[in-house]
């Protein structure tokens, strides 16, 4: 076989092998789904912790993302509070999507015979749920109210203080005081509010 033919054969075989390799590599890069990367674990775990209670005649029950509590406030100026935290131990960032507090503005205390005005529990009792500490990661500030949209990133918690207060008499009008005396049951000579309250804070993935 002469050298010219030999060289032609060598070149041809090189070209064929190059084409085969090129087709193989194009097939590899364009066709196959690469083996899936390690599957992440998924966990949703957002919950209220057991509270630390400050005084008052009360009962507090925590159920995951809901708190039910009964409190008795005997007289004006009485205050009941407890501190808890909402923790995110899951693998997803969360945001507050729904916040429901017992609506004290729909519970009637009584109607004034003098003015005809109707007063509700919210006129005598304040009920607030606020952050008790700053949290820069979640951008929440102490003393600010819990608000829909508030962040709770994974592996963080927001500390919360719940306060229920029997308003001071000097903050009530005489008409309100009169209605209070006429409608609220006395217990041992106290105008006691026995309240069933709840807080529901539902979070969703951010």
């Amino acid at each position: 076989m002469d050298s010219k033919n030999n060289n032609k054969l060598i070149s041809s075989l090189f070209a064929v092998s190059a084409v085969l390799l090129a087709v193989a590599f194009v097939t590899i890069t364009n066709t196959f789904a690469y083996p899936s990367s390690k599957v992440n674990t998924a966990l949703w775990d957002v919950y209220f912790t057991e509270p630390s209670i400050n005084g008052g005649d009360s009962r507090v029950i925590v159920s995951n993302d809901k708190i039910d509590f009964n409190v008795s406030l005997k007289e004006s100026g009485d205050e009941f509070s407890f501190i808890t935290s909402i923790n995110n131990d899951g693998t997803f960032d969360a945001k507050l999507s729904s916040l429901k507090l017992t609506d004290l503005s729909s519970q009637v205390v009584g109607t004034s015979k003098d003015t005809g005005k109707t007063y509700y529990i919210c006129d005598y009792i304040s009920f607030a749920v606020k952050y008790s500490e700053n949290n820069d990661i979640n951008a929440v500030n102490v003393d600010s109210n819990l608000t829909v949209g508030d962040k709770l990133k994974k592996n963080t918690k927001n500390n919360i203080i719940v306060t229920v207060k029997y308003k001071d008499l000097d903050r009530l009008t005489s008409d309100q005081i009169k209605v209070l005396n006429e409608n609220v049951i006395r217990e041992d000579n106290y105008l006691v509010f026995n309240l069933d309250l709840n807080i529901s804070a539902v979070y969703q993935q951010m």
């Binding site: 054969l9 599957v39 992440n40 674990t41 966990l43 949703w44 995951n64 039910d68 529901s200 993935q205």
Partner: protein, 339 residues
């Protein structure tokens, strides 16, 4: 000649490297067959929680189910029931989920069972795009009122009447995962059951956490492609080996002095030399042998005739002839005479 040899050696090394690389990929893709690497998976973590608080008549405080589940039924004012259902997916899904609540009063008397629907909520539907379904809600069971109806029924049908109140939360979800190219559906039921007995023992669905996985469908097409790619690499390896063999053969060919001399003559006197197939019949010719090729060239030039060339023995002997009328001038080039 030396440069050609170096080039060939470099080519051999390159081909050996290519053989190594191709062999690696051949083995890699051949072993991938049947391993179902095209299967994708998604991990799912489902948890459900349920609890209730009982408010007794003339009592300020709730009593949680954690403290006990036995009550004097006539003292129960209200039961606030809470449920939470959450599902976390390891990759994003889209779809919807929904729930509704049905309350039934079930009475049994004389072997017969009567089921009355006492409550039905609207269906609440939600859309989901993300990784998490989190459903939390609570509802009140005004037991005082319901038990009143039961007592009325009992008065009508006799003292042997038994019954219970049951509220069931029905939850469904239907989502699609791009990760596994598949729809996933699930449904759950949570219940709270209150037997209509003087001392009632309330039962609820137990809390549960379930971790599971779902997978994409098997993709057998990839097996065929793995085989094709393996064959392509195998073809490339065979060609590389062939190339190495050819190159080695070429390198192995050593040019003898005879080859060298012949090549030079053919190159230098190319215009004068005519290659013929067979040695002509010189029987009727007077043959004159010349000692050197140059003398034959002189004769050819003087006579203005071509030099006929035939390799009578391959790689060993060649004959150059100038034929003029009845005279033949002959020059022989042989490996014996040169060496």
């Amino acid at each position: 000649m030396k440069n050609n040899k170096v080039t060939y050696y470099i080519l051999i090394v390159l081909l050996l490297i290519l053989i190594g690389v191709s062999s690696f990929f051949l083995i890699y893709f051949y072993n991938l067959r049947g391993q179902d690497l095209s299967i994708e998976e998604i991990s799912i973590s489902e948890s459900n929680k349920m609890s209730y608080n009982v408010k007794l008549k003339d009592n300020k405080y709730y009593k949680s189910n954690i403290e006990g589940d036995t009550f004097v039924i006539s003292l129960i004012d209200n039961i606030n029931t809470y449920f939470n259902y959450s599902v976390a997916f390891s990759s994003s899904i889209t779809g919807e989920y929904s729930y509704y609540i049905v309350g039934n009063a079930v009475y049994e008397y004389n072997g017969e069972k009567v089921k009355n629907e006492i409550y039905k909520s609207d269906i609440s539907k939600y859309e989901i795009t993300g990784n998490v379904i989190n459903l939390s809600n609570s509802f009140d069971i005004n037991l005082d009122e319901i038990i009143g109806d039961y007592n009325g029924f009992k008065n009508d049908y006799g003292i042997n009447t038994t019954g219970y109140i049951e509220y069931v939360v029905y939850i469904n979800y239907s989502v699609f995962s791009e990760q596994i190219s598949k729809s996933m559906m699930n449904s759950k039921e949570f219940f709270i059951k209150i037997p209509c007995e003087d001392i009632t023992h309330i039962t609820i669905t137990e809390d549960e956490v379930v971790n599971r996985k779902d997978f994409s469908e098997l993709n057998y097409d990839d097996n065929k492609l793995y085989l094709i790619v393996s064959l392509e690499f195998m073809g490339a390896i065979i060609i590389f080996i062939l190339l190495i063999v050819l190159i080695i053969k070429r390198l192995g060919k050593r040019e003898t002095v005879y080859d060298y001399e012949l090549r030079l003559l053919l190159k230098k006197y190319d215009e004068m030399i005519v290659s013929i197939k067979d040695l002509p019949d010189l029987t009727n010719y007077e043959i004159f042998f010349v000692d050197t090729f140059e003398e034959l060239v002189d004769a050819a030039n003087n006579l203005v005739l071509p030099i006929n060339f035939v390799e009578v023995i391959d790689k060993k002997e060649s004959t150059f002839i100038v034929l003029h009328e009845a005279i033949a001038y002959v020059y022989k080039l042989s490996s014996k005479s040169i060496s």
